[in-house]
């Protein structure tokens, strides 16, 4: 994935340390999606993906911060969102991205489902934390 964070003029940042913060983060992402001209279905998919990833970082990563921005690629508008936590990391990324696999009491759709809902998906995980970056383009 391109380094969208580096080329954004303004990134909005929200901390996520409670389930109420996940709600605020979702609202921030929705506003960016509306401004970016994403269709209602695309907005809904992006905000749902953000909700899954925000909950993941809260439950498994102990919370963290979310950065989001409007981006463009060859004139096409989109929304970039980055989820960064300082949790213990994901031991087996391939397994964590498998449908139905869960280490907790979820349904195992968080990561795999979120990946399906967006156009670009990038994940880095290590012992010092996990970072997920997504982009949804207006079509």
């Amino acid at each position: 994935m391109k380094d969208y964070a580096a080329e954004c003029a303004s990134l909005e940042t929200v901390p996520v340390s409670t389930s109420g913060d996940v709600v605020s983060m979702r609202q921030m992402v929705r506003i960016l999606a509306q401004r970016g001209g994403l269709s209602l279905v695309h907005q809904t998919k992006l905000v749902t993906a953000a909700s899954e990833l925000g909950r993941n970082m809260l439950v498994y990563g102990g919370g963290g911060s979310v950065r989001a921005a409007s981006v463009t690629d060859a004139g096409r508008p989109g929304v970039f969102v980055e989820f960064r936590d300082k949790g213990p990391g994901i031991a087996d990324l391939d397994l964590a991205l498998t449908d139905g696999w869960t280490s907790g009491n979820g349904m195992g759709l968080g990561l795999s489902g979120a990946r399906r809902l967006v156009d670009e998906f990038d994940i880095e995980s290590g012992p010092s934390g996990t970072t997920v970056r997504i982009v949804k383009w207006a079509k």
Binding site: T18, S19, G20, V22, V23, R26, Q27, R30, L40, V41, Q43, T44, K45, V47, T48, S51, E52, R55, D99, G106, M107, L109, G110, S112, G113, R116, L117
Partner: protein
């Protein structure tokens, strides 16, 4: 966060109209409140109106499925009404089939469906 979703009783039906963006604690509270109210009131049906919800993620989807299963064991049928088309499309792509959850387009049709189910049981 002490906000709770109200559970209203109309005859033998409990009506839950979700009007705000729910955080996970509100979802868990609703699950508990609803099963308690079914037992306390002896309700035969539950209608959950989600027309104001802009998204249903896997957590809320799981709550809806879980509620339907618990309510059924407690003798009440659950109908989820008012799901937005974009929400339905997203749920399917997310991988949630919502099997076991009865749905209707709107509140009116949901209540009608409950009456039909009740008549079938009698």
């Amino acid at each position: 966060m002490t906000d709770r979703v109200p559970v209203l009783k109309i005859g033998e039906v409990l009506l839950v109209s979700i009007q705000t963006d729910l955080d996970d604690q509100m979802v868990l509270d609703l699950q508990e409140d609803l099963s308690n109210r079914i037992v306390a009131t002896g309700a035969k049906g539950v209608v959950i109106d989600i027309s104001a919800l802009e998204i249903v993620d896997s957590f809320v989807g799981r709550m809806l499925a879980h509620n339907a299963a618990v309510s059924r064991i407690l003798g009440a049928e659950t109908i989820v009404v008012g799901m937005r088309p974009a929400v339905a499309m997203t749920l399917v792509e997310l991988g949630l089939s919502m099997s076991g959850v009865r749905t209707a387009l709107n509140l009116e049709r949901g209540l009608k469906l409950l009456r039909r189910i009740a008549a079938g049981r009698a």
